[in-house]
Amino acid sequence: MGEVMRCNGSVLADLASTLLEPHERDVVRGDLAECGVNGWRACLEVLGLVARRQAALWADWRPWLALVGVVLPIGVLLSHASRSWADSTALDISLYVRLWEWSYLQYPGWRHELFWSFESIALSAAALSVWSWTCGYMLASVSRRTVWVTAIVLALVVFLATLGTSTVARITHDKFAGHFYGVVLPRLFRAAFVMLPVLWGIYSRRKGVIRPTMLFAGAALVITLTVLKSPGLENSLVWGRGLYGHAGPDRTFGTSDDPRPLWPVALVMLWPTAYILATAMPNRQRRLDA
């Protein structure tokens, strides 16, 4: 048992050492091997060094810019939007699952509704994904060495920012469905359309800078999706916090005359895209001048 515990500690020490810079990783592991330190003590020693290295990085302003300028505001918005759109997706999915009949496809109205439901879900997923990808890319640009800490904080904000709030959409016709649609589906949404794109954005930035053609096409896509989904984003904040918006002169919610006092939040979602464009342009000009 003691040998197993020591092996587990050594394995964890090796894993922890991957958080160090490559040149330091070998030196530290070599020092510990030479001194005969292994098992859990080696693991604690390496983690101690990792913690000190991370703490030193946070003395710089860049990780704080990433945390306060990107992770907190965008994480909160992504949390509300993903939960809200997961709920509306759950409504659509549960209706079709319960009421599906293949014969309904012959009716144009049913096909129309099916298409619009699919389009709504696809646009929601696409908007969340592009916002999250630009967020991950920006985090890796601003502070490469603290990106994993900021990504973990972002994950916590995304999954926890809506604690203590609810939405109006809850399906309760049976316990399994209620739990799946009310708890599991929002988490799947967040994992699939927020955190995976964030990780992909980080990975893309670490591979290198985006090509100019992709840059402008990507920016156009982000802006288009943001314009299309900004009313839904605002509603996710209003309804998601248990507040109630104004119905406008026609006294009907969800129509074009509803006031939109929260329209600037869409600009917050565009901030990573603006940063990527602004930092990519001087590099491009330098390459053209060279």
Partner: protein, 104 residues
């Protein structure tokens, strides 16, 4: 510039070890002298701080079998480091004149 106590211990250990001064050896010297464990984290962050101040120079040494074929981080005290350690030592001697633990 007055050193910290751990910085002085590291400079002294490195100076004593001479050409054999590297991470693990310095750590062993400090542990032998103080009787307390010396963490890898404190060791390497202090090495970086001393190098940033210009008190030591470090470079990667050759790997050895007892280190699993991994390289060492070699250390050499610079003349500036010698001056800083000398100042610290003289300051400790001057301030310790006449105190009871300095008489033994």
């Amino acid at each position: 510039m007055l050193l910290g106590e751990f910085e002085y211990l590291m400079l002294t250990a490195a100076a004593r070890l001479g050409d054999e001064a590297y991470g693990a050896a310095i750590r062993q010297e400090i542990e032998d002298a103080t009787g307390t464990p010396c963490s890898i984290g404190a060791l390497y962050t202090t090495l970086d701080r001393l190098e940033n101040k210009g008190l030591i120079k470090t470079w990667m040494g050759d790997p050895t079998p007892e280190r699993g074929g991994r390289p060492k981080r070699m250390v050499r005290v610079t003349p500036t480091g010698v001056d800083a350690a000398t100042s610290f030592y003289n300051a400790v001697r001057r301030v310790s004149r006449g105190v009871v633990w300095a008489k033994s």
